[in-house]
Amino acid sequence: MIIEILQQMLNGLAIGSVYTVIALGLTVVFGILGIAHFAHGSVAMSGGYLTFFFGERLGIGFFPAMALAMVVGAVIGLLIERLAYRPVRDAPHINAFIIALGLTMMVEGINLLAFGADQVVIQTPYRGVFNVGGVAVAELRVLVIVTACTLIGTVALLISRTKTGKSIRAVAQNRPAAVLMGVNVNRVSAIVFSVSSALGAAAGALVGALLAIAPGVGEGLAVKGFAVLILGGLGSIPGAIVGGLVLGVSESLAAGFISSAYKDVIAFMVMIVVLLFRPEGLLGKR
């Protein structure tokens, strides 16, 4: 029994760490720029497809392919910021949201055209399975968790220790004041979006290696990402970390002990309940 619980938790940690990476990409954009960047899920998918194709066509390993996909992801982020969101920066919020929806359709559509409708599974050479006291620890899952931690750590450091990070935090706290202090909001916006999309691309690569990339997966990831955001508190990086892991593990436990069919419903129920009773999130400030 205890082994079963531990196994389910370990399974959940791997997918949970991917949720965290997605949520991180969302929270930097939402917390700093106030945009509910719904297309993030589709951008993640692009990252996954790209990783697969770089791996196949260029014959490079998984991690180099992922890194390359992240670079492309950053460029995509720049384009999205400049062409789609900047024109409506000062318009009512609803416009930015509708643009997010339109972007979702566009990126999904481009993915469909470029990569086809079939699912894509990124094969990796990491197929080892270790037995730790009855719990099966798959090499791939451990690598996913480690990669996610590295990415999260890097971004956290970027925001808290660098000068760029300082400007980002300034814009998040008070945009007009930041402008007055000489912060280039356009530059901050561009950087935030590139970082966010690079993270998204990485998450897509990880999902592709763990499971698969296919049309429709992006939407689900985006919604779960927002669920984590709401759970952990908007704009809070520790919140995204805790929220992602909690969501991943509770999904796995619920699927194992209650019902696997309604697994996805857990995420949504959690989100709705948290929104109703503690809208600032478990770790957010009131």
Partner: protein, 326 residues
């Protein structure tokens, strides 16, 4: 000719065309599409109420349509209720669910609300797919019956045929539009528009905005429920895929494209959303990209939608003609 006369003549022509449609559109395939478009008019008018008038983007409209569709179907197929009754019950059931769903979620603002409605749609979809003992799951429910014929005086209205059903959906679309028109021109409508403009201001003036938002949300969902019932008994076959999130996105597109906050906008948008895939069939793969692009471009360049833009264009043209006449 002054604009009012022109408009009245245009409206009359449109009404005549609609009433006599089966005479001059005889290809069954196009009749099929027009009926679907009218069903979407009902859906889009609902979407417009919450999105266009009140400024709250709901991504649950297709989910509510599903509730209405399955509601009406299960009541008639499993409990044997007469279809005219289930078609009335469907919007009511959907409304009840919307009250439950809306009450907590309308307390939060714009972005959150949209995301929560998205979650609602996904929950509805998953439940429809998974609770197969009730809904048939992925395989769905087949042989959903058409409404029985109605005898009015000596005239028999055959609702089993396409022509008969066309008039049913025409009436429904007209009633939906009328309902939204009544709301728009009432005090409630003015409050909703004010909420869209500046919710904080109207709350400061002492208005309990959430009541009005809930009202709009519930009416919008009931229209979706009605559309669902009409859809189920028309297509004859029900399956959760018709009520997924991508269809909710289509409803949003219909409203944006046609014109947020106008009454004719949703009509134009609904027809566009139903007919475009048929004409873009050659470029089926490009459809998503095109839709998305339209949504983005429309929001950036013509945030008020197609109908106001066209109306503006016509007015400008009329003004130019008038000037030249003098």
């Amino acid at each position: 000719m002054n604009p009012r006369t022109a408009r009245a003549m245009g409206m009359t022509a449109l009404v005549l065309a609609a009433l006599t449609l089966p005479l001059w559109v005889t290809l069954p395939y196009f009749q099929h599409l027009i009926i679907l478009a009218l069903i979407w008019v009902v859906l889009a008018q609902g979407q417009n109420l919450i999105q266009g008038f009140t400024g709250y983007v709901s991504i649950a409209q297709a989910g509510f349509m599903g509730i209405g569709a399955y509601g009406s179907t299960l009541l008639s197929v499993k409990l044997g209720w007469p279809i005219w009754l289930t078609m009335v019950a469907a919007p009511l059931v959907t409304a009840a669910l919307a009250v439950l769903a809306g009450y907590p979620s309308l307390r939060v603002k714009g972005h959150y609300f949209a995301i929560v409605t998205l979650a609602y749609n996904m929950v509805i979809f998953i439940v429809l797919m998974t609770w197969s003992s009730l809904t048939g799951g992925e395989a769905g429910i087949s042989n959903v019956p058409r409404p029985p014929s109605v005898a009015i005086g000596g005239f028999v209205w055959d609702l089993a045929g396409r022509v008969g059903y066309y008039y049913l959906t025409l009436i429904a679309a007209a009633l939906a539009t009328l309902l939204c028109a009544l709301i728009l021109h009432s005090r409630v409508g003015r409050v909703l528009l004010a909420i869209r403009q500046n919710e904080a201001l109207i709350e400061a003036a002492g208005v309990q905005a959430w009541r009005y938002k809930l009202f709009a949300f519930v009416i919008s969902a009931s229209l979706a429920g009605l559309a669902g019932a009409l859809y189920a008994h028309f297509i004859g076959f029900l399956n959760p895929d018709a009520f997924g999130v991508d269809h909710s996105l289509n409803a949003i597109l219909a409203v944006i494209l046609g014109g947020s906050g106008t009454l004719s906008g949703p009509v134009v948008g609904a027809f566009a959303v139903v007919f475009l895939p048929e004409y873009l069939r050659v470029a089926e793969n490009y459809r998503l990209v095109i839709y998305g692009f339209i949504l983005v471009a429309a929001t950036i360049f013509m945030p008020r939608g197609l109908v106001p833009l066209v109306a503006q264009g016509i007015r400008a043209l009329a003004a130019r003609v008038k000037r030249e006449r003098r």
